[in-house]
Amino acid sequence: MGPNVDIGSFWQALKDAFVMELPIGEGFTAVVDFMQEHFELFFVAVANTISFVADNLTEFFNYLPPQLVFGVLAVLALWRVGWRFALFVLVGLYIVLGMDLWPESMDTLGLVIAATLAALGVGLPVGVAMAKSELLAAAVRPVLDFMQTLPAFVYLIPAVIFFGTGRVPGTIATVIFAMPPAVRLMNLGIRQVPTENVEAGRAFGCNQLQLLFKVELPLALPSIMAGINQTIMLALSMVVIASMIGAGGLGDPVLAGIQQLRLGTGFEGGLGVVILAIILDRLTQSFAQPNRQREGVLTRLKRFFGRADAERTA
């Protein structure tokens, strides 16, 4: 290395010559400002719709007496999964009630369901369209990557700008975060339907709609259900983060635990989320399998109370 060459300044010169500063951040801000200024009516409409659904759902779940929620979820668990899971549901919900987090849990449940419905309502049709069009698939895929990997806090901020704080921006941020798996797995599921089944559908005279509803969707069902399950799980994890912008629910005790170093409170909130997550996960997963060879609720009840050794279905 020659003594006369100053590598540092050479590098600097190279950088000055080739690297231009891109005003991406400013651009994003400008876009957000522009949208806020010109699409106000649109945002108001969206906000009203979402708050209507989310508010009513959370209110509805809070209105239900805990006993009824216990009963319904336990029976569902017994019917779809098995008696051991039904037992888990009862114990889990009892813990939630005992931690005095019942209203928060119901808020979260309402929010998750509202966000999931919105995510599926947009995501599933987009997934179908992607499966049918290579062009659309190529266009949508990077958008999905963006939605999934962009740190959630980054779009919490514009959500607040557009919709203020509270349930509405929380739900919207959740929808954005939770939608990709529904789109992806719907697309994948339809593409994975065996060629000969699709050909059979066409050969017997299906039109496009019949092909979709009689062949493609039923055969893609396991994949679609996996997508719905993932959407619900992601929605649940996002709802906690959304409590930072005042969405409420089980995220509140978690946030309080972090902000005030109250270990116990944080843990209780976290545990509530875990219990809800397991219940929702197992239940939605069970719907991915056809129920035709399964037993009815009555048979299961009889089994539960009659013979404890009948565990082969579990």
Partner: protein, 404 residues
């Protein structure tokens, strides 16, 4: 018999600019040359044939010969690049989407290699699939589906689900689904190829039985020559996307169009293909006509021709019997000096003629055990020729020699 389906100069090119590939084909370039130059694949090239009402028409070829592409053009699951396909005289390549859907619902149905049943539907619902798609009422379609299931012997399994059935049973459902719409044409794409050999034979018999009850026009795709020979009334052989020969199994075995076709028959059991009439020869034994032949004259003639046996028939060529040197001598020994002797008295007792349509398999034992050539007669008892052991061995051997 009338023509049900006619395929005329049909081409299929897979790729970005099929017309350009078509020009190259017409300039005489081969499939491989076109692929090397343009990256486009010629699936089917100038295929022409006609299928008659009520026959099983087999399309046979190795994988990649274009047979699956060809059959999918017959219901336009694949659109042909050029050419005409007529069903009952109507060109389906010119049909609108709506007409095409109507055609698929009423006129043409298909059986698939991997069965392609809908796993979420019961056997009955699967069978009724085509009817449901066409908007038939529930009661009517269940009635028709049950009848179709009955025809393939699966009525008892109507409420099972596909994953509870064996491969052979699944394909019976596939067949029932295709039959339930009562189609004019049935396309079978390697329908039995995924089944194990025993079940495959069983299904071939099933198809032939159904066909004997109600003759449908069937286009049957296979890569298995034995299967083609068994079920096919006529066979089209495909090579590199082109139809190289169309004919009855016998015609193709007897006169293969080229080396490729001949190579199929190497090692093939021709005894299934040929009947007694195909191998019977007239030049091997001395033939005597009655009346007018005495026993002594007959012996004389036989010795003259250096033969050991002779067939006797009457003036209308009706078969009478077989005489041999031994039987003639024995007969003469029993005669008085002046007696003329009637030739019937010298007939060899244990020779029974076979009819012309007897398959070779069924007469092998008889030919092998008989000391004399076995005579062959037609339906009216007229003499057609004889089959000797030598003829039989020669026939069984000929395809090997032909290919060598």
């Amino acid at each position: 018999m009338s023509t049900k389906l006619s395929v005329q100069h049909v081409y299929k090119v897979f790729g970005a600019h099929p017309r350009r590939a078509l020009d190259r084909i017409k300039r005489g370039e081969s499939k491989d040359e076109i692929f090397a130059a343009t990256g486009m694949t010629v699936g089917v090239s100038d295929a022409s044939f006609e299928v008659q009402e009520g026959e099983i028409f087999v399309v046979m070829g190795l994988s990649g010969s274009g047979k699956s592409t060809l059959v999918r053009m017959l219901n336009r699951l694949i659109d042909p690049t050029a050419g005409a396909i007529r069903i009952d005289g109507q060109d389906i390549t010119r049909m609108t989407r709506k007409q095409l859907i109507e055609l698929r619902r009423r006129e043409i149905s298909m059986v698939f290699q991997s069965f392609a049943l809908m796993p979420h539907q019961s056997v009955l619902e699967n069978t009724a699939f085509g009817l449901a798609v066409a908007g038939t009422s529930r009661s009517q379609r269940e009635e028709k589906a049950l009848a179709a299931l009955d025809a393939v012997g699966l009525k008892a399994n109507a409420h099972s689900y596909p994953d509870e059935l064996s491969g052979g049973m699944k394909q019976r459902v596939g067949l029932a689904r295709a039959l339930a719409v009562n189609p004019g044409i049935l396309l079978m794409d390697e329908a039995f190829s995924a089944l194990d050999p025993l079940i495959r034979t069983e299904m071939q018999d099933e198809l032939l039985r159904l066909q004997s009850e109600q003759a449908r026009t069937v286009v049957f795709i296979t890569h298995d020559l034995d299967e083609a020979m068994r079920v096919g009334d006529r066979i089209a052989i495909m090579q590199g996307g082109a139809v190289v020969q169309v004919g009855t199994p016998e015609e193709i075995v007897r006169e293969p169009a080229n080396e490729y076709v001949r190579s199929f028959f190497r090692g093939v059991d021709v005894s299934h293909v040929f009947t007694a009439a195909d191998v019977a020869r007239k030049d091997h034994v001395t033939v005597m006509e009655r009346p007018g032949v005495s026993v002594r004259a007959a012996l004389e003639r036989l010795r003259e021709h250096d033969g050991s046996a002779a067939v006797v028939h009457d003036r209308s060529r009706k078969y009478q019997g077989v005489v041999s040197i031994d039987s003639l001598i024995a007969c003469i020994d029993g005669l008085g000096r002046r007696e003329e002797g009637r030739i019937e008295q010298a007939f060899v007792a244990d020779v029974t003629p076979v009819t012309a349509d007897t398959p070779l398999t069924e007469l092998m034992t008889q030919v092998a055990e008989s000391p004399y050539p076995v005579p062959v007669v037609d339906g009216d008892g007229r003499y057609q020729g004889t089959i000797s052991r030598a003829t039989l061995l020669h026939t069984l051997n000929r395809t090997d020699k032909g290919a060598a």
